[in-house]
Symmetry: C2
Subunit: 319 residues, 2 copies
Amino acid sequence: MEYWSIGVMKQRILVVGTGAIGGFYGGKLAQAGASVSTLCRSDYELVKSKGITVTSTLGNFHFTPEKVIRDLGEYGPPPDYILVGLKVLPEIDTAKIIKEMVGPETAIVLLQNGVEIEEPVARAFPDNEIISGLAFICATRTGPGHIDHTDFGRLVIGRFPAGKSAKVEELATLFNDSGVVCEVSEDVVTARWRKLVWNAPFNPISVLGGGADTKTMVENPESLELARNVMEEVCLIAAAAGHPLPGEVVQQNIDGTRAMAPYKSSMLVDFEAARPMEVEAILGNGLRVAKRHGVSAPHIESLYGLLKLVDSKIRSQDK
Amino acid sequence: MEYWSIGVMKQRILVVGTGAIGGFYGGKLAQAGASVSTLCRSDYELVKSKGITVTSTLGNFHFTPEKVIRDLGEYGPPPDYILVGLKVLPEIDTAKIIKEMVGPETAIVLLQNGVEIEEPVARAFPDNEIISGLAFICATRTGPGHIDHTDFGRLVIGRFPAGKSAKVEELATLFNDSGVVCEVSEDVVTARWRKLVWNAPFNPISVLGGGADTKTMVENPESLELARNVMEEVCLIAAAAGHPLPGEVVQQNIDGTRAMAPYKSSMLVDFEAARPMEVEAILGNGLRVAKRHGVSAPHIESLYGLLKLVDSKIRSQDK
């Protein structure tokens, strides 16, 4: 039944937030045969006329969206999936942005960083399926209509807050058909905490440490020690929140980072472009969970205090 | 007897490290009537021909050293005091630099930042008097032969490791005669910890927070919280090391910083000039004391991990 429906009716997917993540994975879904449209703001003219060019270790490709829209009203009937690739920032109200295009059957896919980022969307659309997704990828939007995918690419997706769903399976099949390894998790919130074990240290340290790539951060003994302490605090908070992580996750993340080609974190890319950073999604939300459960997380607190200062400077220059 | 000796024989003082601190206080001692010479490296030609110009809230003045030397051998017989204003950096071996000019009666005055900075000098000159000094001053060397003194200026000096001494009294009298408020402490090591309560948070946060002045750091709630946590850790370490500080010292330092004209910390000035920073004197030494006494100091540890990364980048660019 599902196979048949995939064969006959193209899934209609609308990408909101067409940066590196939205553009890359949207493009892969189009390769797998879905009808993928994109909401674009700054890139609108260029993407409408030339599409998106992706340089990728999975093979370079070109993504010509079904429709390129500047306003949700231009799209048509609500899509089967809204794929959200927006940054998670306090001033970006995802629920408000997508509201107009959420039909009764629309699944909302959040391919975003951080923890506890689903709640506001889940509260706004209590009857819709929320699919939470994690992208383990090194990809950067290098310019309008250009994405550079340099390493990894695996996805973990799952129904929020937990469990199985046909839509998750369908989406995972599409991704896997396109060559993107997509794992389905029945406990995606735990997977989010697991990803935070990497993000919480290496995103902030790359910025605060003066623009350090992954290689520099793991080779400097003092910053490696700090990264390890932050990771251990993430594990403590996750466990207190009911999402215990396996004990080896810290060492695995360190070894994995050592094995990576030197990489500039997404937060460092934002910082260097003087764009607001995902401080709350990556540190603030975790700290609030820590506080709720009485867990001490002084190393994360320190990074948070410093990043808020850097972020507020960026924001004040922005005006 | 002492008054008479001050009147008749000029104290011979040699300033080693003629930056903002050495230049300013050396100049004030000369105003008080001492015979003050300076060891200069990069500024040699300019200071020899034109002296040092000081813009100061205590009144602008010009300091013409008795001798300006490039090499200690040019000085003559050992001085009564060597006033050390060098940065405290692992690669600067103060004992080695001053060795040639330390006579049996020479007192070595360390006007430097950080804690546990006296030991190497005290070990190298076990029979000489070591005077430890703290400068509460906002002063910057703005160019060769130019110092800008913008706020404060008080000194605390004392015999190291503790107690009274005639030389300390004599030096304090000279300073007070020159208009510099100089307090004598019989427990200067505790005074050093007390000063670290300010230095340990605000120097590192100013650099790591993206170049923040004092006003920005106390007005941003997250960085203020971080500063407070760091201050409290300094108090815990000091107490464990046998130098308990009064409970109100944290709030006093915060209030004092709020009342200051916005100020760029000396570490930030070094950072912006791409010069190595006093990471060990201001954080590393304190952390080693913490470890020795089993005190946990995770906020300081975090700042240390990040600063080491930034400092190693500066050093690698330096080569």
